[in-house]
């Protein structure tokens, strides 16, 4: 992909909602058209700003779920936090044709592109799957065969975002493994993990340290700190562990 030599300053612009799609009871994907969209890299996020009638403004960051190969539009997946200032509006109120104030794409640090190699270990807690899904979709779109493991923690199978697509990708692409842990409610006959991610689980699932995997962790702050500290304790290089915390809310 062509890289601009100087990205330039960001400013707020208006995107138009092209489509929305419920992913789970609490999450929705919102596809937007942004004028003069310059494209993004898998793992980047957007800032969204809402302005109330009295002028009060508030902004939040949301990861881009779509791969760079989905050109000229981007998809955010947003989880509704019941006490949130922004997410209830985005999930419950926003309609096709509405305009939304956006700034981005943001970030070059929490980014993975196929040329960066692997093996790849992705660790997601709840809606922390979103930027990692952009990486998995990018990997599939370019036909990469870099060995990739996703460890994905959710409360229940109903809370698993992109469940069907992940199943499909595991069947249709090479060397992609998805391991789920369901921390609160498991369906009958569930034989997978049913506890929060811990050092022992990462020891079983992460690539051996001598393979020098690239690791990306995204989820609520306590989740990310547990996973990152466990990987460091297991002997992985801190410099190859990249984290994106989305705050203390939520639980996975």
């Amino acid at each position: 992909m062509e890289r601009r030599t100087v990205p330039g300053r960001l400013s707020w612009q208006l995107g138009e909602v092209l489509a929305t799609r419920a992913e789970t009871a609490r999450t929705k994907s919102i596809t937007l058209a942004v004028p003069n969209w310059i494209g993004h890299r898998a793992g980047q996020h957007m800032d969204v700003r809402l302005t109330a009638e009295d002028g009060y403004q508030t902004e939040r960051s949301y990861s881009i779920a779509s791969p760079p190969e989905q050109e000229q539009r981007l998809t955010l997946t947003v989880e509704r936090l019941d006490d949130g200032e922004v997410s209830p509006y985005l999930v419950d109120e926003l309609r096709v044709g509405d305009k939304l104030e956006l700034r981005g794409p943001i970030g070059g640090y929490f980014v993975w592109e196929a040329h960066m190699g692997g093996p790849l270990l992705l660790v997601a807690g709840g809606s922390g799957i979103v930027p990692l899904m952009a990486m998995i979709r990018h990997r599939a779109a370019v036909g990469s065969t870099i060995p990739t493991r996703l460890l994905y923690s959710s409360r229940s199978s109903e809370d698993v975002i992109y469940r069907d697509e992940l199943d499909r990708l595991v069947r249709s692409t090479t060397l992609l493994e998805v391991v789920q842990t369901l921390t609160r409610v498991q369906p009958p006959g569930w034989t997978g993990y049913h506890r929060r991610i811990d050092t022992e689980m990462l020891r079983e699932l992460a690539w051996p340290p001598d393979q020098r995997p690239l690791m990306f962790i995204c989820g609520p702050t306590p989740f990310v700190e547990t996973a990152a500290a466990s990987l460091v304790a297991l002997g992985y290089e801190p410099g190859r562990i990249k984290t994106e915390r989305f705050g203390p809310t939520g639980e996975a």
Partner: protein, 87 residues
């Protein structure tokens, strides 16, 4: 309660000010001398703005806010910024 985030969370407002992708910019801490990509630093968002801290020694590297039509940028905790001119 403080809301601990990563340097990614400061990328938006910093790139409103600087014409570079800022999470890959290397910042050296005046407190302990550690040098890291801004994306690897700790970020706290408050009503008044964004605070970037050193994950090693907790020194405040950057405070930034946008209010009343101005950017307020305090970088006294940064000894050196290394900005790649190529990416």
């Amino acid at each position: 309660m403080e809301n601990k985030l990563d340097g990614n969370a400061a990328g938006g407002i910093l790139q409103e000010i600087f014409p570079f992708e800022m999470t890959l910019v290397q910042a050296s801490c005046t407190g302990c001398g550690a040098t890291d990509a801004i994306g690897a630093l700790a970020v706290y968002k408050h009503g008044m703005g964004t605070v970037v801290r050193c994950p090693s020694c907790d020194t405040v590297l950057i405070r930034v806010a946008h209010t009343k039509g101005r950017y307020w940028l305090d970088m006294r905790g940064v000894r050196v910024l290394q900005i790649s001119a190529e990416a």
